[in-house]
């Protein structure tokens, strides 16, 4: 971490986006994480994605649980409301927030301890319900704040900094999200910003539950030889299935690609996800094939990254429970209170 704050004045050459905000307007407080932490790269990617998507910062709500990853919402989007809740319970708090106001953009930031161990249940049930949000797990396979214990996403056979070998099977969060009904599932790597930024943009544009499992090496406790979540190991075993360009509804499509090499998915909000295929005939709309692909490549020791699955017409929780389009928090006495006449009738029926 650094103690030197950036000057408040923006450099005149900083380009404003369509809303007149520069990239600096999407930043937060100075990070207190370790120098070189993968999580800081993800924060930077989030800033970049929100800036490029022209999102009004105050219309984003960022929520997290507890842990290194859950600290990061302080370090981006300083003009957004944030909620650092309790360990493993971001999903329920975010679900409640989403029920209250369906008009905000919801970003949940969590870690592998937060979402795969203590919060696995809440993670699963949020996916099942289809809460409209972007859920990022900053996955380093280790407990950082308590100094280096294995987490539930540590691979079997991976070595800890102190030399212990993990004997427990790893939880694959992306595979779980696919099984549980998430309508957008991706995996990426904090060390690959060119892959990560468009994935975050696509996830934020997605009108359902978008899940990104982002491998994010812990430089302090899980970046040594023998770890399967180190920068070197992930770079070596990274098997990207596609490369994504996100074309917002307003942007003009300019680049041309050979037919067959590209898959285009138009999302509900009009954004186009243009996927350059890297792995043969990978079909990003086929949930079951995605699950099979993940399992096969996992068996070969490969880390599959890219956009793994997207449902272009997702249904979210509000559709399921048929709420009115007006955010519930906006409804007043007239809309909510049946009044004394209705009560008098009810009284009469109870005599």
């Amino acid at each position: 971490m650094t103690y030197l704050a950036k000057p408040k004045l923006h450099h005149p050459s900083l380009q404003p986006n369509q809303l007149g905000f520069t990239r600096r307007d999407y930043e937060g407080a100075i990070s207190t994480l370790c120098a070189g932490c993968g999580h800081d790269s993800i924060s930077a990617a989030l800033i970049q994605a929100c800036y490029q998507l022209d999102l009004p910062p105050h219309r984003i709500a960022k929520l997290s649980g507890i842990g290194c990853s859950s600290k990061t919402p302080t370090y981006f989007l300083g003009a957004s409301h944030g909620f650092n809740s309790v360990h493993g319970r971001m999903p329920s708090v975010l679900t409640g927030a989403n029920l209250a106001n369906r008009d905000l953009i919801y970003l949940g930031v969590s870690g592998d301890g937060d979402s795969a161990s203590i919060g696995l249940g809440q993670f699963a049930h949020l996916m099942r319900r289809g809460v409209n949000m972007t859920y990022i797990v900053e996955n380093n396979g280790v407990y950082g704040l308590t100094k280096g214990q294995f987490s539930a996403t540590s691979d079997r056979g991976s070595k800890s900094k102190k030399g212990a070998i993990n004997a427990d099977e790893a939880i694959d969060m992306a595979a779980l999200a696919l099984q549980l009904g998430a309508t957008f599932v991706a995996r990426s790597f904090s060390g690959d910003k060119t892959q990560l930024v468009p994935l975050i943009e696509a996830a934020l544009s997605h009108q359902g539950t978008a899940f990104i499992d982002c491998i994010s090496p812990c430089v302090a406790f899980n970046n040594h030889v023998g770890s399967t979540k180190s920068f070197d190991y992930v770079r070596e075993h990274n098997e990207a299935v596609n490369f994504l360009d996100v074309i917002t509804p307003r942007a003009e499509i300019t680049t041309e690609y050979d037919e067959g090499a590209v898959q285009e998915v138009t999302q509900h909000d009009g954004s186009v996800l243009r996927l350059r295929k890297l792995a043969g005939d990978y079909d990003v709309n086929d949930r079951i094939a995605a699950m099979r692909f993940l399992a096969e490549h996992h068996a070969q020791g490969e880390i599959v990254t890219g956009l793994l699955f997207v449902d272009p017409e997702p249904e979210d929780l509000h559709v399921h429970i048929k709420t009115v389009p007006t955010p519930l928090k906006e409804l007043n006495e007239t809309a909510l209170c049946p009044g004394s006449a209705a009560l008098a009738k009810l009284n009469a029926s109870l005599r």
Partner: protein, 612 residues
């Protein structure tokens, strides 16, 4: 032993098998007495089971209006062979036993000192019906018919009620009325009618209504403007969330679009329930959960977050017998302390104690104003006795000019005007800061909500003075709450007395009756009903104004007494506990005997004390 003779003042108990369809027949019976202008207090006594185990329905008939439970049974409708022995044993000497006499019973199964009334119910049903389910269901209506003759209940009232019950399913009306008359005619033709126990038309019900506390609380949440309900099924609170669902479906669905002005989520557990409530309330909705003791235990961590981060939340806790799973279908007031001091660290929470369904409604609605005003969790402590039983209470009222108090909200306009916003800044000196809803203003008013320590501007800090400053402000806020929660209500004895008793919640009707019993025995007492925590100064004044103060509770450890001693710095010796905690509802005689014993110790005890 002469038969008990009483008019409009007796206890009748139905022993049934659960799942046999007896509940609606028993309710019909109870309601017919209310329609004759005589108050009744029905109570379900049921197992944690769906079908096959014993269940009882006890009705206290009391023209005088005593709605608390009363020990002893005057009339037993013994329909369950499994519990026959204990049911027969529970009848008071001179009382009545009503049973199905289709099969002969050995004399040893009865008692000499009770009056036995046999009606061949099974035989009558088998003769009349061929369908097995019909035989079972109509048997219940047949015994209601027989009881109407024995107890002199107006048959027209029962006929009207059957008509109301099956309105819309009209073809069921006649068969039920037929079954009713089968039983009634049998009794009139074969038994001495009426017996010593009788119902006589009176005018003692007034405009009161009968409703379960859970239903009234759910309705209170509708009127109070709750839009988000997140819950996990648990006895005895489930019917509260279900009532909210029912009333929302009735009142809050847009007639044109069919869209809902509410969101109800059955969560995966109680942790998720309270998490959703906190998330929704943080984002500006009024939100609640309904649970019972085990759920409160599970919610502890989140409750500390809501206290410390100052997020509103409403928790309806319908208390049941603990600890652990305890007796899920039995009543207690045993979560007072686990709610008052929920979570780790220094915490204190606001509690409300409704006495009946009427207050479940009013306090239910009020709790949302309090939560928003105080920006903290509010606990509404019902218990199974008022939550799951229909109780006669004052009609529900609503003032249409009433506006929701959303508390201190910093608006877009205030932020735009450049007003200083510190999320944890005590601007008004009452300990309550201002908050902003997420998404209010593009440049101002955003803040970070966290369970870790922060300064007045919501910035993370581990600085000692900032932490202490915040903790002290939370105490000031709790002090403010004293003036906002419902005040205690004192009922003075007719003559001056130096003896007092404190009580709360469902103990209310038994306590009022006990005070009358004691007064009649020459021991008048002043009573004070505590309705909220933090305690009002009135509670301290009441204790100081009496030489001997009893505190009547339905738990083993005198939890409210602990709270009073602790929070009001009262000498523990000044508060004498009277505690009922076997899972059954407290009775007036239990209280009056407990108090009388202390005021007037038996001779032996007095001798012992003199020797000592």
């Amino acid at each position: 032993m002469s038969p008990i003779s009483a008019t409009n003042d007796f206890v009748i108990k139905f022993a049934n098998v659960n799942g046999s369809g007896s509940a609606s027949a028993n309710q019909l019976f109870g309601k017919s007495i209310i329609r004759m202008g005589v108050p009744v207090a029905p109570r379900n006594i049921f197992p944690s089971n769906i079908q096959g185990l014993p269940t009882w329905y006890e009705i206290r008939v009391s023209e005088a209006g005593y709605l608390g439970a009363r020990a002893g049974v005057d009339f037993m409708v013994a329909m369950n062979p499994q519990t026959w022995t204990q049911d027969v044993a529970s009848i008071l000497p001179g009382g009545y036993l009503f049973y199905d006499s289709s099969k002969p019973m050995p004399k040893s199964k009865f008692r000499e000192d009770i009056n036995v009334i046999g009606v061949p119910l099974t035989e009558m049903c088998n003769r009349e019906y061929t369908d097995a389910r019909q035989r079972q269901l109509f048997k219940n209506i047949i015994y209601v018919g027989a009881l109407s003759a024995l107890l002199d209940i107006e048959v027209e009232v029962l006929e009207t009620l059957i008509g109301e019950q099956f309105k819309g399913k009209d073809k069921l009306i006649q068969p039920n009325i037929h079954a009713l008359h089968m039983g009634r005619d049998y009794a009139l033709n074969n038994l001495k009618c009426p017996i010593g126990l009788r119902v006589r038309r009176a005018n003692a019900v007034g405009d009161r209504i009968s409703i379960e506390g859970n239903a009234a609380a759910g309705l209170g949440a509708v009127y109070g403007g709750a839009t988000v309900c997140a819950w996990y099924p648990i006895t005895p609170s489930t019917s509260l969330a279900e009532a909210f669902t029912k009333y929302c479906t009735k009142f809050r669905v847009d007639p044109e679009t069919g869209e809902n002005k509410f969101a109800i989520v059955q969560a995966e557990d109680e942790l998720a329930s309270i998490g959703m409530v906190i998330g929704a309330a943080w984002n500006g909705s009024r939100a609640f959960t309904a649970t019972s003791g085990p759920g409160i235990s599970l919610m502890q961590e989140f409750l500390g977050l809501a206290y410390f981060a100052e997020v509103p939340a409403v928790i309806f806790d319908v208390q049941r017998t603990g600890p652990s799973t305890g007796m899920p279908t039995r009543s207690q007031q045993c979560d007072v302390l686990s709610c008052a001091y929920a979570s780790h660290g220094d915490t204190k929470h606001v509690l409300l104690f409704p006495e009946d369904p009427h207050e479940c409604f009013t306090m239910g609605a009020q709790s949302f104003d309090l939560a928003d005003r105080l920006q903290t969790p509010i606990f509404v402590l019902l218990d199974l006795d008022i939550g799951m039983n229909e109780r006669l209470c004052a009609p529900l009222e609503w003032d249409d000019s009433r506006l929701y108090d959303r508390g201190k909200i910093m608006t877009y306009e205030a932020l735009e005007a450049g007003k200083d916003f510190g999320r944890y800044l005590d601007v008004d000196g009452d300990g309550i800061p201002y908050r902003t809803y997420p998404g209010t203003h593009p440049k101002r008013g955003s803040f970070f909500t966290r369970g870790s320590s922060k300064d007045r501007y919501a910035k993370y800090t581990e600085e000692a003075t900032a932490y202490k400053d915040n903790m002290d402000r939370l105490l000031r806020k709790f002090e403010t709450a004293k003036g906002l929660v419902p005040r205690p209500i004192e009922t003075k004895a007719k003559v001056a007395t130096r003896i007092g008793a404190l009580y709360y919640g469902s103990t209310s009707p038994a306590m009022r009756e006990a005070a009358e019993l004691l007064a009649a025995d020459g021991m008048p007492i002043d009573i004070m009903r505590v309705r909220g925590f933090p305690f009002h100064q009135d509670v301290v004044d009441f204790i100081n104004a009496h030489d001997e103060v009893f505190i009547v509770e339905q738990n083993r450890d005198a939890q409210l007494r602990t709270l009073v001693v602790n929070e009001c710095s009262i000498d523990p010796a000044r508060l004498v506990p009277v505690l009922h905690y076997d899972g059954t509802p407290i009775t007036a005689t239990f209280i009056s005997e407990g108090i009388a014993m202390r005021l007037n110790p038996p001779v032996q005890q007095r001798l012992k004390e003199a020797v000592a």
